[in-house]
Point group: C2
Chain length 431, copies 2
């Protein structure tokens, strides 16, 4: 199969009207998608997108259009080669390299290609990937800049070691689902009573971990954390997320103030580019928990690419790898990140929420469990109860766990009527 055409769309949801999604750095997001439809020469389609929070979504769409000539006519039997062609174009590469708008757009295009291929194979993406031989998986990765941390040979060994357990793990995960945690309780714009109610509800719904946004006002954060802890009790994990609000010294001070309420992790304490800063924060908080244990450090939703993830692992700067389905260059680069995390023994706990990020990223975690790390301990996928109704194959959450997706493809297809209604600026939702 070859790619016959690419269509791009600017889709935006007016979420800022409700303060859903509000945090210390992003007070008023309009959850949006730069959305791509690839059509193959046999008429089949693949859908993909990248996630933004409103203004500038049109810039990502322009970047998708700039990539279109590199994929139209491309062979869908070699998605490793296609991925490298998109990220290494000799002129477009200057605009990153491998970061920012161009990389977000590349994610949308590559994810659409995977949706097309997995749909054609009549398998959900996670199962499609989990059925691939180790050598083929290794060939999907762009190994440039990784070999000082992980070689293709070592990655292959890791996949070969995991291969015998694939079938039984696939069966297990279909049965029990993949553990989720919820961020829906803790948006910064929510009043105390709403947080209390939602935290309580989360536990009733079966979640064993929730997350609170922090970082705007320390006294507010202490109060909100205390009431959330009281609502859920001591056995439920509460993570906190500062969305990059702090410098290194501020992160250490603020988390020390929150420590009595037993934070499970601090997420994005500072700049996502600051590998050494995360390492310094993690070292400083290594004995700051209420029992003298660590306050763990997590980041990833804004980590630009595999080279930065590599260093976060080399520097032992984080406890949890929060990859995002649409920030790095799609499925291929996320396979690299899953392999790096497994090699360094760090749990992957993906970022999700936004528009369709839950739908997409669940496939990567299911694949990780079945074919890469083979582990579930301390692994959770973020869950936010937003905008799933716009997807043809929305996530299913039961008793705090993602059910294994069963429909063919990457679960990345929006309903046609949503693509019309939320088209920006001409759709009815914006008029």
């Amino acid at each position: 199969m070859r790619v016959a055409s690419l269509s791009s769309y600017d889709i935006r949801f007016p979420t800022s009207r409700e303060l859903d999604g509000s945090d210390a750095m992003n007070p008023d997001p309009d959850y949006s998608a730069a959305y791509v439809v690839l059509r193959a020469d046999d008429g089949s389609e693949g859908h993909g997108f990248t996630f933004t929070i409103g203004r500038g979504n049109e810039v990502c769409r322009a970047a998708v259009d700039a990539l279109a000539p590199l994929i139209i006519g491309g062979d869908l039997s070699d998605l490793g080669g296609l991925s490298r062609r998109l990220t290494h174009d000799s002129q477009l590469r200057w605009l990153g390299p491998e970061k920012g708008v161009m990389h977000l757009a590349t994610a949308a295009v590559i994810n659409a290609a995977w949706d097309l291929v997995a749909t054609a194979a009549r398998k959900p993406l996670w199962a499609f990937l989990s059925d691939m031989p180790p050598d083929e998986l290794v060939d999907l990765v762009d190994w440039r800049y990784l070999t000082d941390a992980l070689t293709p040979g070592a990655a292959r060994d890791l996949l070969v070691d995991a291969a015998p357990g694939r079938a039984s793990r696939a069966e297990h995960i279909r049965e029990v689902g993949y553990p989720a945690y919820t961020t829906s309780a803790g948006w910064l714009g929510y009043p105390d009573e709403k947080i209390r109610h939602l935290a309580h509800q989360a536990v009733a719904d079966g979640f064993r971990q929730i997350k609170l946004k922090v970082g705007a006002d320390q006294a507010d954060d202490v109060r909100r954390f205390a009431l959330a802890r009281a609502a859920v009790g001591p056995g439920i994990r509460i993570a906190v997320d500062a969305n990059q609000r702090w410098d290194v010294p501020a992160a250490i001070g603020w988390m020390t103030a929150l420590a009595p309420y037993d934070p499970w992790w601090i997420e994005e304490p500072t700049s996502p580019d600051d590998i050494l800063g995360h390492a310094a924060i993690r070292r400083a908080l290594a004995k700051s928990g209420p029992d003298g244990g660590p306050i763990r450090v997590a980041t990833g939703e804004h980590v630009a690419n595999r080279v930065v993830f590599k260093q976060l692992l080399q520097a032992d700067a984080i406890d949890f790898v929060q990859l995002d389905a649409c920030r790095v260059a799609g499925v291929n680069e996320n396979i690299a990140i899953l392999l790096l995390a497994a090699a360094y023994g760090k749990p992957v706990c993906p970022h999700a929420g936004g528009v369709g990020l839950c739908e997409a990223v669940q496939h990567l975690s299911f694949f990780d469990y079945v074919a890469v790390s083979g582990r579930l301990d301390d692994r959770v996928i973020e869950y936010v109860d937003h905008l799933h109704e716009h997807f043809i194959d929305p996530v299913v959450i039961e008793r705090g766990a993602y059910r294994a997706p069963s429909a063919p493809g990457f679960s990345t297809r929006m309903r046609p009527e949503s693509l019309v209604r939320y088209a920006y600026p001409e759709g009815a939702a914006w008029s």
Copy 2:
């Protein structure tokens, strides 16, 4: 003064037809500029741009247009505040943060604002900055994410210490000029005889340092380096530049093969995001020079922002800070980088070439000498003899040194006829 309007242009020069600018990662660049004209309410203008190498220049222009509503109406008396407003827009920030296309576009807009303000003050930008009091310079910087390495107070102290010598250094640099090195001899696409001739010519023209592109073929590199060394003799510094071609182990091996010819620095040995990789390469080459001394490490033209520069300094990963006038968010972020480099005692040797990068960046080095580091030892500005004829106030090189710019502004204004002829795709150069 307030900003009344912003106009953006997609300007491209068909340089790939001549193999000028060819290197191991960029074989066929069409040097381009996403170009901005700001008009103030009093009718005065400021021009700025960011540099790209062709395809995708339209994406940068779209990003400039996305920033326009944030600057139109903005007060030009507070360029620190304006800079922070552009880089921290709560929705646009998601597209970086502070990197890639959005940051390139931000550079174009902020640099145009500085051109406007310095022109109105009837001073060349370097002199305009050099006349500002330390407190005002400190206020221009976005200190977020820097305070674990350098606080505003420490930066102020550094500027205050340098203040007494400003006048005499300004006089000195006007007299002798700022040392340059030339890359014009060593493009990867050039035949041996052309390299030999141009290397010889560079020395005759007064340059004490030249640079060769490497990284495509090791045997070719050894041959080219040997003939360049023979042409210039032992007293001239020859830097080499791999343009991010290698992984860490490959960089160490390749540079060991080139060591007998006495490379002054290896530039961009690997990914610009790889702080720990640069540190590992620098450590491995610390005694690899022909006399048992170091092969020095340089990078910066693709370093995304001040947070990555901060870490390159904290990790002692580089010997030379190669800031770029248009990759980070313009003058303001480059002041932060100059301050960081001075605090860590590392020489700044800016990246230049491309379209107008020499014109712009010279102002930052002159300012650095007069008001920040106060030093010239081992400092050089890159020089490439390309496309200067399109600028109203082109750089002047004499005996291997940049002459101090004397016209008001940032030297960033292209000739109106060039803006018409090289407009893409409609200009005559492209028809």
